[in-house]
């Protein structure tokens, strides 16, 4: 009795309940009066019955899905002999893993430990029982609540109001998912970061100048002791984002100005979609392009000039990231420039200014808050960008101001640390969450500043 079959049965039961509720509403009013004596349209009575038939079993189902696995594993572990029950947390985890593999049948026949096999068979038996129990409980709940509502159907019953209240509650629940997501992000990143800061002090992390997260596992192992200073990584992030903004802001702003002031509608008709294409290309493609075409090109032209260019230079990654951000700056600036009223432009032309003088002295100052807000949003996008830098920038944390060298960024380090196979508790992996917290806070601050700047300094025209 798999869960999906149970859900299907529930659905058919719900449609049955709908028909029964509707028929009951009709039958209560008598043949000569018809449905005009009903408070709501007949469909609502059916819908009310169906909703009450479906919702309580779904709640039961949700609880079962969330907790059954852990309860069953706990019960199975209790059945183990005493010697195996007093193990450390890691070894218990290993045991549970082995148990799960046995249950799923992923172990070769000769490697099976007979004690564990027994427990696994017990687990499978208990799981079957719990699934049947789930089916029975769900059906009983469905039938019970359905008949409860069925009995209460009267012509004066305000079925529509009840149904609408249920729908409204579900709308509210959906809206809280956004808040739950933010809370989830903050809590999850914060929780793991606190575990990290218990092992490495906060000042070391924020102000340390050396980033080398390899920790020796044994006392005699050669290899650097872990140093988790985030400054080189942050410096790399800001350098690459700085290059990206240096590319994107002039090009984006100028193209927005040209498109809104100078271009004919024909040019605008094909130029805007092309800028949207720039925004729609996935960042993996940009990263591949940077690694395949841009980085070798920069290295070769650097060698022509006699410079020593790394093949994973910050310049390559920054250039391509700048190209990616151009649409952000361009479309946001375009909106604010178009919002400046025509009266200001007309006044300026009337005084004899050329178009460029109008733009530089009248329109851009008027639209400046919006443009600055757009640039800040683009900066936060650049800081949080992952794939371009993972594929085109390096892994070594250099604290350098030379864009021709390889640097690493916060996002690259997060990916590298979490995609490997280190244990989850060591500072090596937990530092990724600390970096994620740092990233989240920095982008949040940038967004808040952008919003504040736009809201506070925006000119209100009538």
């Amino acid at each position: 009795m798999s869960p999906s079959i149970l859900l299907l049965i529930l659905l058919t039961l719900a449609s049955f309940a709908y028909m029964q509720g509707k028929r009951r509403a009709f039958s209560l009013t008598g043949p000569e009066v018809g449905s005009s004596r009903l408070h709501s349209r007949p469909g609502y009575y059916g819908m009310l019955t169906a909703l009450w038939c479906v919702l309580p079993p779904l709640i039961v189902f949700a609880f079962w899905m969330a907790f059954s696995d852990s309860i069953l594993i706990a019960m199975a572990m209790k059945a183990l002999p005493n010697s195996l029950q007093e193990l450390s947390a890691d070894q218990t985890n290993l045991l549970v893993n082995n148990l799960r593999n046995l249950i799923a049948g992923h172990v070769a026949a000769r490697d099976i430990d007979p004690i564990l096999q027994q427990v696994a068979e017990q687990y499978i038996g208990m799981e079957r029982i719990s699934q049947i129990a789930l089916g029975v409980v769900m059906l009983v709940t469905a039938v019970f609540s359905m008949s409860y509502v069925y009995r209460r159907i009267r012509p004066e019953m305000r079925a529509r109001n009840h149904v609408e209240r249920i729908v409204q509650i579900s709308l509210v629940l959906c809206s809280t998912i956004a808040i739950l997501t933010t809370i989830g992000i903050v809590l999850s990143v914060l929780f793991e970061s606190i575990r990290f800061f218990q092992q490495v002090p906060l000042t070391d992390f924020l102000f340390g100048l050396k980033w080398s997260p390899q920790m020796a596992m044994r006392a005699d192992q050669a290899g650097s002791s872990g140093s988790f200073g985030a400054i080189p990584v942050l410096a790399g992030t800001f350098m690459i984002s700085g290059i990206a903004l240096a590319v994107a802001v002039p090009i984006g702003l100028m193209s927005a100005i040209y498109l809104s002031e100078y271009a004919s509608s024909r040019v605008r008709a094909w130029a805007k979609p092309i800028m949207e294409i720039l925004a729609g290309v996935p960042t993996v493609v940009y990263g591949f392009f940077a690694a395949l075409v841009v980085a070798p090109f920069i290295r070769d032209s650097g060698e022509l000039f006699g410079l020593n260019v790394s093949s994973e230079s910050a310049l390559a990654a920054g250039l391509v990231m700048g190209v990616m951000i151009i649409p952000f700056v361009s479309s946001l600036s375009d909106d604010v420039i178009n919002a400046v009223p025509q009266a200001m432009r007309d006044g300026s032309y009337g005084l004899g200014a050329t178009k460029s003088e109008t733009i530089l002295r009248v329109i851009v100052p008027a639209a400046l808050p919006g443009i600055v807000g757009g640039v800040l949003l683009a900066a936060s996008r650049a800081i949080g960008e992952t794939m371009i830098v993972v594929m085109a920038a390096g892994l070594s944390a250099n604290l350098t101001a030379n864009p021709l060298q390889a640097v690493t960024t916060v996002t690259v380090q997060i990916v590298t640390l979490l995609v490997g196979d280190q244990e989850f508790d060591s500072p090596k992996t937990l530092v990724a969450f600390a970096l994620g917290l740092l990233l989240f806070i920095v982008t949040l601050i940038l967004n808040v500043i952008a919003l504040y700047v736009v809201r506070r300094y925006r000119e209100e025209y009538e």
Partner: protein, 424 residues
């Protein structure tokens, strides 16, 4: 009498006019060049990817006379027969003067290691061919493929090449006999991932992407529309609603990798969901695309004129009825275009899916939402890291497939918007 003329304002203005017009021209040129630069970037991107990738749609195959020797099949299980020996024997028959173990090994390297699996599938499908001799096109090794496509040059010194001169001689002989040709690369579309470039395909990644996108669509569209309807129609203007709105705007700007960290910490560690499954990927992508869909839906709900709502209420509908029967259907085109654009963004996402484990090397094609899978952008990322030269063209071809999907989704969104948009 006035000996000198005083300078009038018009004179002063006329003196500076030429410079101002020149500056105006430069400014305009600057703006135009900005647009031209952006267009050139895109053109460069597409042209370089296309130039690298179009050759991946052809694969070199070698025509061998395979004799299904009865002696090799004298085993209980057909799948354990030595199919590699069949291939080796037929290569030996084509080049009878090749002796010496290292020479023979280099000769056999010209055929892909997956050739024996092709033969295995043929025999299992139809055991009647045992004992006969058939001419079969088998995939050649990726080095041969690269040589025929011109990426390995003859002019380079032998020690700097992946194929030595003897192998090139044999290749030339095969080409002269018409036994080595480039055919359409069906393996690219029908096979899952592989370490050998000539056997690698995008089918597993495309299936994984479809499952993930299906989960994302099923979850994000109802929740997004419900939230937009609530915020737009029902929510009272108080602090709580402001908080929700600020939250949604913030979430739209959070870096995607932070969503991956959320998925790792909550979905994998706390809820214990299967790693690298499209279900978890779909959940993470839902959280990412919700703000996009909510913002687009709110905009389209705002664009419905209030007269429609008031007319419905005036005829006696309740607020919920007015919304579900009148406003929502009219706002639906805008919501659908917003959803399609959100889905197109989700299709290209890589970073959060890396965090939840979709970076594993998965060979099988997934059949359900809980099977381990990978998605097309992650496949591109993995192939971009591989050292074999043949993977460069395959990565570019996979990028072309991905861009094809994205362009068609965006075109459908634009088409729907043009067709169903109403100007009130």
């Amino acid at each position: 009498m006035q000996a000198e003329k005083r300078e009038t304002t018009m004179d002063r203005v006329s003196k500076g006019l030429a410079r101002r017009y020149r500056r105006e021209r430069w400014f305009r040129l600057f703006g135009l060049s900005a647009i031209v630069t952006s267009v050139c970037f895109i053109a460069l991107l597409f042209v370089s990817i296309g130039a690298n990738g179009w050759s991946a749609f052809q694969q070199t195959e070698v025509l061998l006379d395979i004799h299904f020797d009865k002696e090799q099949f004298d085993v209980d299980n057909l799948s354990t027969a030595n199919y590699g020996a069949l291939v080796k024997n037929s290569m030996q028959a084509l080049f009878p003067d090749v002796t010496g173990r290292s020479d023979k090994r280099e000769l056999n390297k010209l055929v892909s290691s997956g050739a024996s699996y092709v033969l295995q599938k043929m025999v299992i499908k139809d055991t009647g061919i045992i004992g006969s001799t058939k001419k079969i096109w088998l995939p050649a090794d990726d080095e041969v493929d690269m040589f025929l496509k011109g990426y390995i040059s003859r002019d380079v010194a032998e020690s700097a090449r992946r194929l030595n001169d003897k192998q090139i001689g044999w290749i030339d002989q095969l080409v002269a006999e018409g036994r080595l040709e480039k055919k359409f690369n069906t393996i690219f579309f029908t096979a899952g991932d592989s370490r050998e470039p000539e056997l690698a395909g995008i089918r597993g990644a495309v299936a994984g992407s479809l499952f993930t996108l299906a989960v994302t669509l099923l979850l994000s569209f109802p929740i997004g529309v419900a939230t937009a309807v609530y915020l737009e129609e029902f929510a009272p203007r108080n602090r709580w609603t402001d908080l929700v709105e600020v939250n949604i705007n913030n979430l739209a700007a959070v870096p995607s990798i932070v969503f991956g960290l959320l998925g790792l910490a909550v979905f994998l560690n706390v809820f214990g969901m299967p790693r690298s499954a499209p279900l978890v990927g779909g959940l993470v992508l839902t959280l990412m695309t919700l703000p996009t869909i909510i913002i687009a839906s709110r905009a389209s709900l705002k664009s419905v004129p209030p007269s429609i709502r008031e007319a419905a209420l005036g005829v006696g509908a309740s607020k919920m009825q007015a919304i579900t029967h009148h406003i929502l259907p009219l706002a639906m085109p805008g919501m659908m275009t917003g959803t399609i654009i959100g889905m197109a963004q989700a299709l290209g996402e890589t970073a959060p899916l890396l965090m939840i484990g979709m970076v594993a090397f998965i060979v099988d094609v997934p059949h359900g939402v809980t099977d381990p899978a990978t998605v097309l952008p992650v496949q591109i990322y993995l192939w971009a890291d591989s050292p074999e030269r043949a993977f460069v063209e395959r990565t570019s071809a996979a990028i072309m497939v991905l861009l094809g999907f994205l362009i068609s989704m965006n075109a459908i969104a634009v088409f729907l918007r043009r067709k169903f948009e109403r100007r009130w």
